[in-house]
């Protein structure tokens, strides 16, 4: 029985966005990326920007996002996505230009490009997946790794004397004059997913309205890197990550 036949037998209560294709994702079961991909696809569809959206994928687990969401993509060098986005938006002002980056990509090697693109007020959106770890390369310490957190390159736990402190780049972004909307969300529950979607929609709307730069951080799990079951990873995130990275809007020029 085909998917269409199954659907035709009952009332369609829910469907995945058309932009999200049927390619099997390479993400680990329990990873937050799949949910955020779906939200991005839904928002683009709801805005009717399918033929105007230009995405920039990072180096990290989401490097292959272009295989899953059927829009045009450019795949950046590690950390440089905001530089690509800057040029793409300036050269194609009516396009919806956004990057999708992890914490190693955005808050470490690409800190310079991130801060300067945001501070110039480029009319782009950065979707920032923060799982406090380098997922793709096997769970090394990231700038966002929590104090005491064990990773493959901080096997005895993150130690301030050795490694310094977790970088709160979203808080930094909120202080920049070029940013319009800066928000921190998560996707571990239906309620959280709905809020995250609203934040992405607002960021994309602001980008298209030319209000300035937008950053939506999604505090995420990396159950494989954290070496936990998906369920345990969600619990661990709620117990530990949200203290370091409190959720909510950090800046919204529309609300001021």
């Amino acid at each position: 029985m085909t998917k269409e036949e199954i659907i035709s037998q009952g009332t369609l209560a829910y469907k995945k966005p058309t932009l999200l294709n049927d390619t099997q994702m390479h993400y680990c079961p329990g990873c937050s990326h799949g949910v955020v991909h779906k939200l991005v696809a839904e928002v683009i569809e709801e805005m009717g920007m399918e033929d105007k959206a230009l995405g920039i994928s990072p180096v990290g687990c989401a490097v292959f996002i272009y295989k899953y969401i059927d829009i045009d993509w450019e795949e950046a060098a590690h950390g440089r996505a905001p530089a690509l986005a800057t040029a793409m938006k300036r050269l194609w002002n009516d396009r919806l230009v956004f990057t999708y980056q992890g914490d190693g990509d955005l808050a470490c090697i690409g800190t310079g490009e991130t801060i300067h693109a945001l501070n110039r007020g480029e009319n782009i959106t950065i979707i920032f997946i923060n799982n406090a770890i380098y997922g793709m390369t096997g769970g090394q310490m990231a700038p966002t790794t929590l104090m005491g957190m064990k990773t493959s390159t901080s096997p005895f736990g993150r130690d301030a004397k050795l490694h310094g402190y977790p970088l709160h780049i979203t808080e930094i972004a909120a202080t920049l004059e070029g940013t319009a909307y800066v928000s921190r969300q998560s996707v571990e529950s239906v309620a959280a997913i709905r809020k995250a979607k609203k934040a992405i929609r607002k960021a994309f709307d602001y980008s298209m309205a030319g209000k300035g730069s937008n950053l939506v951080e999604i505090v995420s799990t990396c159950n494989s890197g954290w070496k936990m079951s998906p369920e345990k990873a969600n619990e661990w995130m709620k117990e530990n990550m949200f203290d370091y990275y409190p959720k909510g809007d950090l800046k919204d020029i529309g609300a001021e």
Binding site: I71, D72, L84, M88, L91, G112, E113
Partner: protein, 360 residues
């Protein structure tokens, strides 16, 4: 109508030619001796006339990645820098070559290594013609020897870049960038509309329409079989470029017993040197590679059977001389002469070197 003859620096000529050629975007970072390119562009305000984007980036790393982003959308985009800045850009150039995108780079060379000096040099020859960044790739490398060629090579560079979907580089130096000469600028060309870009570049990331598959601009391919295929395709393209696009100039080569091989500013010193040598009764010709990659192998090989020796004249420790020697393959003596540290040799010293190293 008579054409307007202007007096300007090589760097200014590049900037004005870029506007006139209908370039869509320039992304750069200040560095001596090429900052006049960005300065001239911002002074001209082409965003108010042709609609060209001009942006001062936060670093050379950002500049080249802006170029990568813009090139992936099919727009005509460029950057310029000088040696240390070009080193920073090499990762980005590798990505652009790997993603098969057209763009124009300008390197107004200064002396290295490291922070080196702000005086002219040709020591980035290896970096320019052998790839520069990681992986097997090539950059089409044009070597202007005048302010006029600085302007003319903007069009030539973009035409070749788009013909082969490959980065092209104007490899200049502090002499050509800073000196002032008479020049006739090209006519103003209208920038392509977005619709024209979409039509001309069906491969570009311009927004996914239903009549085609989504476009992915990437250099990534994890399957070794596919990645090998990609690399073979690149190599075939490079062979085509080597076959079709070699450019060089011959000055008094017909009756020459000896040949000076020199590019860019040193070709000008070389042409004075052959005058001096001929006054002394030594028949010397000058072969000036205009494309450094593809290297003019065939013509140099022909002359290897006609002349008694070649002197590769470069302001570096001897880089192009390796390619001349590879081409000559031991048939005749090939030596190098040059100065280092930003010093440009006098023509009479070139003749002395020719006598000492080749004629003996």
């Amino acid at each position: 109508m008579e054409k307007e003859v202007l007096l300007m620096k090589g760097n200014e000529a590049i900037a004005l030619a870029a506007i006139r050629y209908g370039v869509d975007g320039y992304f750069g970072y200040p560095i001596t001796p090429q900052s006049e390119i960005l300065e001239t562009l911002t002074l001209e305000k082409p965003w108010e006339t042709t609609g060209m984007v001009v942006l001062q980036a936060e670093s050379e790393v950002a500049s080249i990645n802006m170029v990568y982003g813009g090139a992936g959308t099919g727009k005509k985009v460029m950057t310029s820098s000088s040696s240390p800045g070009m080193s920073l850009m090499q990762e980005g150039v590798s990505y652009i070559a790997g993603a098969e995108l057209p763009c124009l780079l300008v390197n107004v060379m200064r002396g290295g290594p490291g922070l080196g000096t702000i005086q002219p040099s040709q020591a980035d020859y290896f970096q320019s013609v052998k790839g520069g960044g990681h992986g097997d790739y090539r950059v089409i490398t044009l070597a202007p020897n005048s302010v006029q060629e600085m302007a003319d090579f903007v069009k030539l560079g973009f035409d070749l870049a788009f013909k082969y979907r490959n980065p092209a580089l104007i490899l200049s130096d502090g002499v050509i960038g800073q000196m002032m000469e008479k020049i006739v600028l090209p006519e103003q060309v209208k920038r392509r509309t977005d619709e024209e870009v979409v039509k001309q570049c069906p491969w570009a990331a311009t927004g996914h329409t239903k009549d085609r598959k989504p476009n992915w601009i990437t250099s990534l391919e994890l399957s070794p079989e596919e990645m090998e295929k990609n690399n073979i395709r690149f190599q075939e393209k490079y062979k085509e470029i080597e076959k079709n696009e070699v450019l060089y100039e011959e000055i008094q080569c017909e009756d020459a017993d000896y040949l000076i091989v020199a590019f860019g500013s040193m070709a000008r010193i070389g042409s004075k040197a052959i005058e001096i040598a001929r006054e002394q009764g030594i028949k010397v010709g000058l072969l000036r590679p205009i494309t450094l990659w593809p290297f003019p192998k065939d013509i140099i090989s022909e002359y290897a059977d006609k002349v008694k020796g070649m002197l590769s004249l470069e302001i570096n420790a001897g880089q192009m001389v390796e390619d001349v020697r590879l081409t000559v393959n031991g048939r005749i003596p090939v030596e190098h002469f040059g100065r280092l540290g930003g010093i440009v040799p006098d023509p009479d010293k070139v003749v002395e070197a020719l006598k000492a190293k080749i004629i003996q």
